[in-house]
């Protein structure tokens, strides 16, 4: 790659990182479900599916890191891993798709000399907690944000996974019995 192209890629990466301020963290909870009544978990059968990015498909480094991060965060919330008789089954999904950041180029009636629209990779991690007995989804949390350049850099990818998973599990309701 010529030095100039390298520089523009670096600039694009910086822009993409700036764009990642639009990280979305959300969660759903099954109505009437009480996460506080669950104590133990185990990993559910992994979903064999493509992520949308061949670099992540069946990538054990990625999978191990997500699992380790989820285990760490669940442990911090007092959940115990129990393979034989778990209350909850945990499952996660990851997907990557390209998105366009218009950087103002789509604003109506505006000349756009300084706009720098760019394309970036948006990644989503979804964590599901399933009632092990009824197999119903109890809680789903996810984070979506720019991961541009993160897959190419293993340490950065690991950091992004750790951050994302921490923020996802952070939304899990606190145990009711514990606070009072």
């Amino acid at each position: 790659m010529p030095p100039f192209a390298r520089m523009t890629v670096a600039v694009a990466a910086v822009l993409a990182v700036a764009g990642c301020a639009t990280t979305n963290i959300r969660s759903y909870m099954e109505r009437g479900s009480d996460v506080g009544s669950y104590r133990t978990y185990a990993w559910g059968p992994p979903a064999v599916q493509t992520t949308g990015d061949p670099r992540l498909d069946n990538n054990q480094f990625f999978q191990d890191r997500v699992q380790a991060a989820v285990e760490l965060q669940l442990a911090a919330r007092g959940f115990e891993r129990n393979i034989t008789a778990p209350d909850l089954l945990v499952r996660y999904y990851a997907s990557v798709e390209q998105q366009v950041n218009a950087d103002g180029a789509d604003r109506p009636y505006v000349s756009c000399d300084d706009c720098r629209p760019f394309v970036f990779d948006a990644g989503t991690i979804v964590v599901d907690l399933i009632d092990a007995r009824t197999k119903r989804l109890v809680w789903r949390g996810w984070e979506e944000g720019s991961i541009d350049g993160a897959i190419a850099n293993q340490s950065w990818m690991e950091k992004r996974i750790d951050q994302a998973v921490a923020r996802i599990i952070e939304q899990l309701p606190r145990r009711i019995g514990r606070v009072s």
Binding site: T8, R55, F61, C112, P117, F118, M157
Partner: protein, 181 residues
């Protein structure tokens, strides 16, 4: 002067466009991996995921040339291809073609929005991703994954271009393969 600027801008945008066609290489590796404990390898069975794009799947030239290039690179690094004994390492690859988009810099540079909302001009291109996995044959653990990404334009129907791109991809991927400690 204005003309010079215009030419410069055109050149810059052309480089931008060309930029998305440049091959990018990357890899993931098992932390603390000591490759010197591995001596032999063999090609492994494909895993559960779709192996590749049908256009590459049904192309014996692609398969043969890729395997040849990888075997050569492995030999250069001192690994022996073991077919009769159980190998230390298993290799497999995935070759995908996905449609990707990029901002059309030539259009976007002069673009401005005079209506109630505009979309960003984009170009679509087909990007090929070649993923090569090296696994511990005993534990079936992934030790190293290398990949190369590039546009497949002009490659699918031209064997010379395809051979050149495969050779570059494999050579540059293996440049990231961990050296013996």
């Amino acid at each position: 002067m204005t003309r010079l600027i215009t030419v410069t801008i055109a050149a810059v945008t052309a480089m931008w466009l060309a930029g998305c066609a440049t091959m990018t290489i990357g890899s993931h590796v098992e932390r603390g991996l000591n490759v010197s404990q591995y001596r032999t390898y063999d090609w492994g069975l494909p895993d559960a995921l779709p192996v590749s794009d049908p256009r590459l799947d049904r192309d014996p030239f692609f398969q043969d040339h890729l395997r040849g290039a990888v075997e050569k690179a492995m030999a250069t690094r001192g690994f022996a291809w073991s077919t009769d004994q159980p190998p230390d390492l298993l290799l497999h690859f995935h070759a995908n073609i996905t449609e990707r988009i990029d901002v059309d810099r030539l259009e976007a540079r002069y673009g401005y929005c005079v209506t109630e909302g505009c979309s960003v001009p984009t170009v679509r291109y087909e990007a090929g991703t070649l993923v090569l996995d090296v696994l511990d044959a005993r534990t079936n653990r992934l030790l190293w994954r290398g990949w190369a990404q590039d546009t497949v334009k002009g490659m699918l129907n031209n064997q010379d271009t395809m051979a050149r791109q495969i050779d570059e991809a494999v050579a540059r991927m293996f440049a990231e393969f961990p050296k013996p400690l």
